[in-house]
């Protein structure tokens, strides 16, 4: 069973190469079909591993702490579900979206590399290996952001590249610093060492480097400058992957794994998380207001929603972390849905500006309905999923006695609702304007993922208790149990 664990990384890398090789003979059909099959097989693999407890695979048979280990626990399982679920639906959507580009091969090949990197980040139990997988995913995403090779795409991609490389270097610096103190790269081994030798100054500096590095990857304020350019410039499926998955896996997930399991959470760090979270949430929401470009609006709202997650994590209480992890899952659903629907709308009307749109409800009924579901979910309207996760985070803030944080959370929730109402009023409802007159419903492979995402949003919202108790709470327990994490790797030795 555990020997199958590397397949999560191996399958997408293999198909990335295969797509390029076979692409010499079949440039159009094979890449599209094969990538759907790849992501489907990853989902099947996930079902095989579902709820099997903590599974550890030692690469090449080297025992930890000497070799690299892959770990699948409940937290990784939640992230794998998010990554591979969103990737599958996005690839199905790309089946017809990619028709507007000339080159299919490199798109799907890079997509697969990005997927492999993210699965690796989620599974690895080795600090340097985390950095390597993080770079694989990031490098693929830099290239994908500039996929349109227009001036603006390249500019956004270059900005993202420079800041992303800087972030990676800080992370590598931090890894080196932690290694110089502990003499190990295995996360559990480092944690074991740091528990017995607390209060090291070099580790404190490494924590700072990690916060800035992962914060840059997550696009949190004040490290967000690249995000509102990069996410709108990318092709719609890539925006959905970047906003829905990449910033969560490379930023938030790595940050919570490193701080909760490896370095250990202290009041200073959790207060920093809280401050960054509040700042991101407010700044993202305020900046989102003035946007006319719908994808820029969604990008700023991503910053704001990641702020919610960081606040939940920074509170540090079990309820806060449950809310944060639940919001991660929900945000992957509705933000991917919104970005994909913006791609469908842009494809039919040729514009993304809210002021040039109107009355899409009559011309593109299914796309409109699902994007309305998405925006209701993100603005926190019951019974959709966003309501429950925001409610849990707000309750957690009250429970922790942080009234100011709770009131900021409520304020941001209102702001979110208001700018999504603006999106709905300008784009979906209202009178049909000139540009919308020729619009038709998007083709079937683009509509089906949208509807599925909308159904997921509603489903998770209605059955929130089942989802939380079966998926989120085990992940939260794993996250807060640092000793259990060490024991799960070294317990059997």
């Amino acid at each position: 069973m555990e020997t199958l664990l590397p397949l999560f990384v191996a399958i997408p890398i293999f198909s990335a190469i295969l797509i390029l090789l076979v692409g010499k003979w079949d440039k159009k059909i094979f890449p599209r079909i094969w990538s759907i099959l790849t992501t489907l097989s990853l989902l099947v693999l996930l079902v095989l591993f579902w709820d099997k407890g903590t599974i550890i695979h030692e690469m090449s048979g080297w025992k930890p702490p000497y070799g690299i280990v892959l770990i699948k626990d409940s937290l990784s399982q939640l992230m794998l579900l998010i990554v591979n679920g969103v990737a599958f639906l996005t690839i199905v959507y790309s089946y017809s979206y990619i028709l507007r580009y000339e080159d299919y091969l490199r798109f799907f090949s890079l997509f697969m590399l990005m997927l492999a990197g993210m699965n690796g980040v989620v599974l690895t139990g080795d600090l340097f290996n985390l950095y390597v997988f993080l770079e694989i995913a990031s490098l693929a995403s830099y290239a994908l952001v500039g996929y349109g090779v227009g001036g603006e795409e390249l500019e956004a991609s270059f900005k993202y590249l420079i800041l992303g490389v800087f972030a990676s270097m800080l992370i590598l610096f931090g890894v080196g610093m932690v290694y110089s103190v502990t003499g190990s790269l295995n996360m559990a081994d480092i944690a074991r060492f740091l528990i017995s030798h607390p209060g090291n100054k070099a580790v404190l500096m490494a924590s700072g480097l990690f916060i800035v590095g992962f914060g840059l990857k997550a696009g949190l304020v004040p490290f967000h400058a690249w995000l509102p350019d990069a996410h709108p410039s990318a092709p719609a499926p890539i925006s959905a992957m970047l906003s829905g998955v990449l910033i969560k896996v490379l930023g938030i997930y790595s940050m919570i794994r490193v701080f909760y399991h490896v370095i250990g959470i202290t009041p200073i760090i959790s207060n920093t998380f809280l401050a960054i979270g509040c700042l991101s949430m407010i700044v993202g929401a305020l900046m989102g207001f003035g946007q006319d470009d719908m994808k820029r609006l969604f990008a700023f709202s991503s910053i704001s929603q990641m702020g919610f997650v960081m606040v939940g994590i920074g509170l540090g209480t079990p309820l806060g972390i449950i809310g944060a992890l639940f919001h991660l899952l929900n945000h992957a659903g509705f933000k991917s849905l919104l970005f994909l629907s913006s791609g469908a709308i842009e494809g039919e009307t040729g514009t993304r500006n809210l002021s040039e749109l109107g009355g899409l409800r009559e011309k593109m009924p299914v796309t409109s309905a699902s994007s309305v579901v998405g925006s209701l979910s993100i603005s926190g309207v019951p019974p959709f999923n966003g309501f429950w996760s925001k409610l849990i985070i707000i309750l957690a803030a009250f429970q922790a006695g942080k009234i100011w944080v709770a009131s900021l959370l409520v304020l941001t929730a209102f702001l979110t609702l208001s700018y999504y109402l603006k999106f709905q009023k300008n784009a979906i409802f209202g009178n049909i304007v000139e540009k919308v007159k020729g619009a038709r419903e998007a083709p079937m492979p683009m509509v089906v993922p949208l509807v599925l995402f909308a159904v997921i949003c509603l489903f998770v919202g209605v059955f929130n208790y089942t989802i939380i108790s079966n998926i989120i709470i085990p992940a939260q327990q794993i996250l807060m149990d640092r000793g259990g994490y060490i024991l799960s790797i070294f317990g059997n030795i």
Binding site: V132, L154, A156, F158, L161, F166, F173
Partner: protein, 116 residues
């Protein structure tokens, strides 16, 4: 300690080039300098003055070997990091060429169609 300090100075020089220079190629050079400084830092972690290669021969004494051998793990890390750096550099240069084709300039101040 002096070595670490000089290494840090190298990092700052790279950061200066990245932040203050307007020319894209100079920014790329800055990134490369920073990469070198991080690699150098990793090497310095395992460095020992007049150390020997970490290969244990049959006629060596184990305790003196542990004292004199350099740490091989950071060297392996740096190898990986250099390869990643090469990939990043290739991507950056390719992107700089494409940007020049689109904008006709390398000046980052004139490449500002996006608002950031």
């Amino acid at each position: 300690m002096t070595l670490y300090f000089l290494n840090f100075v190298l990092f700052i020089i790279g950061l200066y080039a990245l932040v203050a220079k307007r020319h894209i190629v100079k920014k790329i050079l800055g990134v490369s300098i920073m990469e070198y400084s991080v690699n150098l830092f990793l090497i310095l972690i395992g460095f020992k003055k007049s150390g020997v290669a970490p290969i244990l021969m049959k006629d060596m004494d184990l305790s003196t070997f542990i004292k004199t051998a350099v740490d091989p793990l950071p060297q392996a890390l740096v190898l990986t990091s250099i390869v990643i750096g090469l990939g990043t550099l290739a991507l950056m240069v390719a992107m700089a060429i494409r940007i020049y084709e689109r904008y006709g300039t390398f000046d980052m101040h004139e490449i500002n169609r996006l608002r950031g």
